[in-house]
């Protein structure tokens, strides 16, 4: 049986649709990522699944329980960490843990096993007030609090937002251990590069799921030949690339520029050579182009453009 199953779930606030009808399933023990920018509908979907919001349409079951009808039992079985550091800043680390344990009728001692790693890191700061912890430590404490009653499904809304790269990495390592302990994880994030940490990801934008894939299979969703182009000055190179008739999309990507050729099925190596040839004599320096495999951002952008165009065509 699926740990989370969602069928046609939809929600609007007034006339603004926050989540368009959505369906998917998450297997027990899976780490499922919801990846998309702010305002994509991630938080709405999470809140629907933890029974904080009522759906307008569709239904969802978490651990076999209906999120509307069985919400009381559901709230016993799931853990939820909202998108902010939802801790009592004026209580100490220990007091926060004890409090969250008590409201779930659990105790810190009996659940040490699950949160041992986290707890060991927090222990030196036991008496410190949560408000005085660093962002990374706050998030670890919040996670600890969300786990204290051994939930079967854990919902984490943007756990890595606002904390630095090191804490982010540590948090993901911890999530990996929870997965090993058999807990199903639904994690949302705006960071595309965190997709690789998940078993499967849903790319979400504008209240719509663009794709659900294993991270390794995402590249295959990119159909057009993709080239990484380097050279400078950057702004001149961007303009030159955009002026080419074969350009499907041209986006800066860190120190290179990702150029998508609209000729489906053409040999990428040949296209790269052709591209460099076409750019010569335009006063650009250090030109180079090579075929690359699409990353998650490439896929996300391509799918978003397709979806937006389809939407416009539909409305037009």
């Amino acid at each position: 049986m699926a740990s989370i199953s969602v069928e046609g779930l939809a929600k609007s606030f007034g006339r603004v649709p926050a989540l368009l009808p959505t369906s998917f399933e998450v297997a027990p023990g899976e780490v499922f990522g919801l990846i998309g920018p702010d305002g994509a509908g991630k938080t709405t979907l999470m809140r629907l699944l933890v029974s904080l919001l009522l759906p307008d349409a569709g239904s969802a079951r978490v651990d076999g329980l209906d999120v509307v009808k069985d919400f009381r039992e559901l709230r016993r079985r799931v853990g939820y960490m909202p998108g902010r550091f939802s801790l009592y800043q004026d209580l100490s680390v220990r007091e926060n843990l004890d409090f969250f344990a008590t409201i779930f009728g659990a105790s810190v001692a009996e659940n040490r096993g699950l949160v041992d790693d986290l707890y060991l890191q927090l222990e030196p700061f036991e008496k410190r007030r949560a408000g005085a912890l660093s962002g990374g430590m706050k998030q670890k404490l919040a996670l600890c609090c969300a786990l204290i009653h051994r939930p079967r499904v854990l919902f984490l809304d943007e756990p890595t937002t606002g904390i630095d790269a090191v804490s982010r990495r540590e948090l993901w390592e911890m999530l990996g251990r929870l997965r090993a302990a058999g807990i199903t994880l639904l994690v949302s994030t705006p960071y595309m590069d965190e997709a690789s940490r998940c078993d499967r990801v849903a790319l979400i934008e504008g209240g719509r799921i663009l794709a659900i894939e294993r991270p390794g299979d995402l590249a295959a969703r990119y159909r057009y030949p993709l080239l990484a182009v380097e050279g400078g000055p950057r702004i001149a190179l961007l303009e030159a690339l955009r002026s080419l008739p074969q350009a499907r999309s041209v986006y800066p990507f860190g120190s290179t520029i990702h150029f998508t050729d609209q000729r489906l099925g053409a040999d990428p190596a040949a296209l790269a050579a052709e591209l460099v040839g076409a750019l010569e004599g335009r006063g650009l320096e250090g030109l180079g182009a090579q075929p690359i495999e699409a990353g998650i951002e490439d896929v996300f952008m391509a799918l978003a453009v397709d979806t937006r165009q389809a939407g416009e065509a539909h409305h037009g």
């Binding site: 998309g36 920018p37 702010d38 305002g39 994509a40 660093s134 962002g135 990374g136 937002t161 606002g162 904390i163 630095d164 790269a165 090191v166 804490s167 990495r169 705006p190 960071y191 595309m192 590069d193 934008e205 000055p233 950057r234 702004i235 961007l238 986006y251 800066p252 990507f253 860190g254 120190s255 951002e297 996300f300 952008m301 978003a304 453009v305």
Partner: protein
């Protein structure tokens, strides 16, 4: 070599016995996009506050746009612009009102303001949204507007604080386009961010660890030197031992 517009020489700031910024030195050239990275608590914020004239250095020197940050902080403030993704515009004011407000703050004359705001609205293609409240604009437009407003008084340097965090990838790239354009016209961009992939867009980056600059250079060169695939990897390698000790 272009002119140096930001220079830190042994810049230091202590709070009591705690040294938040410890003798950092670096130079940023005109038109450069400089990424300033560091873990929470590494001293990033303190360093920036000194560079924009909000905090006096304990020792060392900071020269921004030709002015000493300790002696002439007001002159420094006139030469810089600031944009943060979170709070650059007043959401309950309209597009035109925001432009007017910032123009007024930086002492633009009425005629200048009129010409500039007309130009800006046209350039951003916001004519139809002139009298729309900023809160009702899509995030991407809001961001472009915030950046344009930060450039309104023609500063030589713009400080950007996590400019594209949480934004969808397409909007993000459109935003980098406008950053590149500003840089090409000679504006220096000083970017601070938690997002390591944002750092890869910069010409050069520095990584602060425990109040010191632990790495400085072009992203590609740093990756080569450290044998790393990403800036993220370098960052974690440098910052993790420091955090583990705290």
């Amino acid at each position: 070599m272009a002119e140096t517009v930001i220079e830190a020489r042994e810049l230091t700031r202590t709070f009591g016995a705690f040294t938040a910024v410890d003798r950092i030195s670096f130079a940023v050239a005109e038109g450069e996009i400089f990424g300033f990275l560091g873990a929470n608590g590494a001293g990033k914020t303190t360093a920036i506050r000194m560079l924009i004239g909000l905090l006096r250095p304990s020792s060392g020197q900071g020269i921004v746009a030709g002015f000493d940050v300790a002696r002439d902080p007001e002159a420094v403030k006139r030469q810089i612009g600031y944009m943060s993704q979170k709070f650059s515009l007043y959401a309950d004011l309209t597009v035109a009102e925001n432009i007017r407000l910032y123009g007024g703050i930086y002492g633009l004359s009425n005629a200048e303001l009129k010409a500039k705001s007309a130009d800006l609205i046209e350039r951003l293609d916001l004519g139809h949204a002139r009298d729309e409240r900023v809160a009702r604009l899509p995030l991407g437009w809001r961001q472009k507007l915030a950046f344009a407003v930060a450039l309104l008084h023609e500063p030589r340097i713009v400080f950007l604080d996590e400019p594209t965090g949480g934004v969808d990838p397409i909007t993000r790239r459109q935003f980098w386009d406008s950053i590149y354009q500003a840089a090409a016209s000679g504006v220096t961009l000083f970017v601070t961010t938690h997002y390591m992939d944002e750092a890869e867009y910069c010409d050069r980056i520095s990584i602060m660890v425990d109040g010191r600059i632990a790495a400085l250079g072009e992203p590609a060169a740093l990756k080569r030197e450290q044998g790393a695939d990403s800036i993220d990897e370098i960052f974690v390698r440098l910052a993790r031992p420091a955090l583990a000790g705290s």
